[in-house]
């Protein structure tokens, strides 16, 4: 008899994967403290204590590394661990004396501990050249270069507030980079190159036309074949056409690059959640270590850290001092590209005489 093919069983039940201390104190935690960088202590109403040790990760990990995580979980945590929404790995301990030996083992493994409190946590990021067809830049390489530079802020809690960095390698933005303290965003700067020979064979022309948010793509006959024409001055390089039709090539080794956005947040703490805004329209792709991008991010972090008040995230700091001062203090040039010209552009103009001099 054929073996039964299981489908639609869903993921493993989390209840079977919780360590006993969590089962015992589920929904009954009283408060938490940060004991030192990368180490949290949660205390339950029962008096039980749970120590979480958070280690940074490149997100792209081999099964060899995962097995090493599993070994550490066995050695220190009764076989239990978890991951965070920012790709960190967290070890869940009940014995305080095991914290330092675990940290030493993690260090030996090349995984630093940190990312809690007023620090920079791991960067949420996308696939880039490792695995994506629409990437305007690499993801993992830029993240590695930026995190190497900002590493002291991961390992120490030396900033005015928490700072969340993220990278998306194109405007599709897998991950919420558009609401980050600093977002690094891959961008195209040239209109699509149309493969008229193959287009009609592999793409549906009406849906391709409809995919353009600025109606810059029109059906047209080219060299006797059905295809499309692009009104180039209407293109703002979003690449949605490429998503629906592979014959609309957007990637360009010379002109693809990176834009930097600042001041977004998702938490409701103090001010409401907000989008990141454009700080730098274009920096070149300069692998393997993207020095222009690393310097730009470091500069923004440094200027913010030197000028912000306690608990003032980058966006809150800019709200207080105003955008003109942000550009002045960071030395970033304000250009035409900073002025919005899409849907709600008018709502972004400055309608007041509130100015600093």
């Amino acid at each position: 008899m054929a073996e039964e093919r299981l489908t639609d069983i869903g993921p493993p039940d989390y209840e079977d994967l919780l360590p006993p201390v969590i089962k015992d104190n589920y929904g009954q935690w009283k408060y938490h403290e940060i004991l030192k960088p990368g180490v949290l202590c949660h205390t339950g109403k029962s008096g039980d204590k749970l120590f979480s040790v958070r280690a940074g990760s490149p997100r792209l990990v081999s099964i060899d590394k995962i097995r090493k995580y599993a070994d550490l979980a066995d050695k220190y945590c009764g076989g239990y661990l978890r991951f965070t929404s920012r790709h960190n790995v967290e070890f869940l301990l009940t014995d305080e004396a095991k914290i330092d030996p675990l940290i030493a083992d993690l260090k030996e493994l090349g995984h630093p501990v940190g990312g809690i409190g007023n620090s920079i946590s791991s960067m949420v990021h996308t696939q880039g050249w490792v695995h994506c067809h629409s990437a305007a830049t690499d993801a993992s390489g830029v993240v590695k270069a930026v995190m190497d530079e900002l590493f002291p802020h991961f390992a120490n809690m030396d900033l005015p507030a928490k700072t969340r960095l993220a990278l998306a390698c194109c405007l599709n933005m897998c991950g919420a980079v558009h609401c980050s303290d600093i977002a690094i965003l891959g961008i195209h700067t040239k209109p699509p190159v149309v493969d008229h020979e193959r287009l009609a064979k592999i793409c549906e022309i009406p849906s391709l036309s409809a995919s353009c948010p600025t109606a810059a793509i029109r059906p047209a006959e080219v060299n006797g074949k059905p295809s499309v024409e692009v009104i180039e001055e209407q293109c703002m390089f979003c690449a949605n056409c490429f998503t629906v039709c592979p014959s609309m090539t957007m990637s360009n080794a010379e002109t693809d690059g990176i834009s930097i956005w600042v001041g977004g947040k998702v938490s409701n703490a103090r001010c409401e959640p907000k989008f990141s805004k454009l700080a730098i329209p274009y920096l070149p792709n300069n692998p393997p270590r993207w020095p222009e991008v690393v310097n730009a991010v470091k500069n923004i972090v440094d200027v913010w850290a030197a000028n912000a008040r306690n608990y003032e995230r980058i966006g809150e700091w800019i709200d207080r001092i105003g955008w003109p001062k942000f550009f002045k203090l960071t030395g970033i040039e304000f250009q035409k590209e900073h002025i919005d010209d899409f849907k709600f552009a008018g709502t972004t103009y400055h309608n007041s005489a509130h100015l600093t001099f």
């Binding site: 069983i9 081999s62 630093p112 949420v124 996308t126 050249w129 490792v130 590695k144 792709n285």
Partner: protein, 403 residues
């Protein structure tokens, strides 16, 4: 195995942050696919351009999502990665694992793929990076035997995800893990078989700190909150001050509605004006806590820029007691009402947020049978171009008379 020189990638093994290149190299010791990836990635670094083609349609039998087809455009140079598909595997809620479960995943992936993963992908799934079409069914069979299943991709319910919730957080205002599991299990069909105009994401955050960024990226954001008073332990408040907390600068002045007063001895909060921002609770974790009348705010419509611009979710239901079975069921009824409307009226690749923008929130509320509330808008309209609905009663009467 081919030997690829990787001078550019080697540069990314230096420095204190853990290196993804070292991970690929480690996998490449035994996996030809990982080795091919090294070769192709080095080429991308030299040429400053990606070398992956548009995804093809691949998957496991009976599912329309969960596998992303990926092919190299340098298949002749790097035959190991000519086919390099991604598999999304639905993570356990809260990303909790036992070492045994992790080892099971590693064994499956060692036998059938590149040995490279993302822990985790942006949406929350375990991501297996790189395998061939003929390996998909064997992987799927082993995964399901081990209690795992695929996640979402394409125009379906994307894998729901949540914050750590009551498992390890005193601020969780509802059981984010339980709600995540319930929605995941009840919507298996919608998760595995794309039938929507576009993707639909649920993200569950236990409090307004929103640790899974639900307000920025979930079509339905479920964010924990409370209705009664913030709980205060005055003794613990005094201890914070005694230990050096600057109450005026760091707490009172940072309160967005200025609803707090510090007498030097007692902290007073005008809870009727508290917007549940969490700041004071975040600062004084031992002294303050969300109240006991806990539940969630339901918001709708967040998305990244493509196509019509990025949006944040906006309020749909100010407060529900979502831990109660009945309330969760009635929320599911509302979700299904929204899906029916969006499937009927939505355009291809139009997210729910864009759909609402196009038809207007007022009309959308009418269609799903919700009353408009002031909590749903930042402010009432500023323009006088009001679409007063024309009273068609007279017409009806005329028709009646004609009958």
């Amino acid at each position: 195995m081919a030997e690829y020189q990787t001078p550019q990638l080697d540069e990314l093994e230096k420095g204190p942050w853990p290196s993804f290149v070292s991970e690929i190299k480690k996998a490449a010791e035994t996996s030809p696919m990982a080795n091919g990836l090294l070769g192709q990635l080095e080429r991308s670094y030299q040429e400053k351009i990606g070398h992956w083609k548009h995804g093809g349609i691949v998957g496991v039998m009976g599912y329309g999502g969960g596998v992303i087809g990926r092919y190299s455009d340098l298949g002749e140079d790097f035959p190991e990665v000519a086919h390099f598909h991604t598999i999304r595997i639905n993570q356990p809620a809260g990303w909790f694992y036992t070492s045994e479960k992790l080892r099971t995943l590693c064994d499956i992936w060692e036998a059938h793929g590149s040995g490279l993963t993302n822990m985790h992908g942006s949406t929350g799934d375990i991501v297996f990076l790189g395998t061939r079409t003929d390996q998909l069914e064997p992987i799927f069979s082993k995964l399901t035997k081990a209690g795992f299943d695929l996640g979402g991709s394409g125009s379906d319910v994307r894998t729901p995800s949540c914050c750590v919730g009551p498992a390890r957080c005193e601020w969780a205002c509802y059981d984010t893990l339980k709600v995540t599991r319930k929605l995941t299990m009840d919507y298996q069909d919608e998760l595995h078989r794309p039938a929507f105009p576009y993707k639909f994401k649920f993200k569950m955050s236990g409090c307004p700190n929103d640790c899974v960024a639900s307000i920025a990226r979930a079509d339905m954001s479920i964010i924990g909150t409370w209705r009664d008073n913030i709980k205060i332990d005055q003794g613990a408040v005094r201890e914070y001050v005694a230990n050096g907390l600057n109450m005026d600068d760091d707490v009172i002045d940072r309160c967005p509605t200025k609803c707090m007063k510090w007498s030097g001895d007692t902290l007073a909060i005008d809870n009727s004006n508290c917007v549940r921002c969490m700041h004071c609770i975040n600062v004084m974790t031992k002294a303050l806590a969300p109240g006991d009348d806990r539940g969630a705010t339901i918001l709708l419509g967040a998305k990244a820029p493509i196509v019509e611009g990025a949006m944040l979710s906006s309020v749909l239901i100010p407060f529900i007691k979502i831990d109660e079975e009945e309330e969760l069921e009635s929320l599911k009824e509302l979700v299904e009402e929204i899906w029916d409307l969006w499937c009927e009226e939505g355009k291809s690749r139009e997210r729910v947020g864009e759909f609402i923008q196009r038809v207007g929130l007022g009309n959308f509320l009418d269609a799903i049978g919700l009353e408009p509330l002031p909590e749903m808008v930042a402010h009432p309209r500023e323009n006088p171009y009001i679409f007063f609905e024309q009273d068609d009663e007279d017409e009806d009467e005329d028709e009646d008379e004609n009958e």
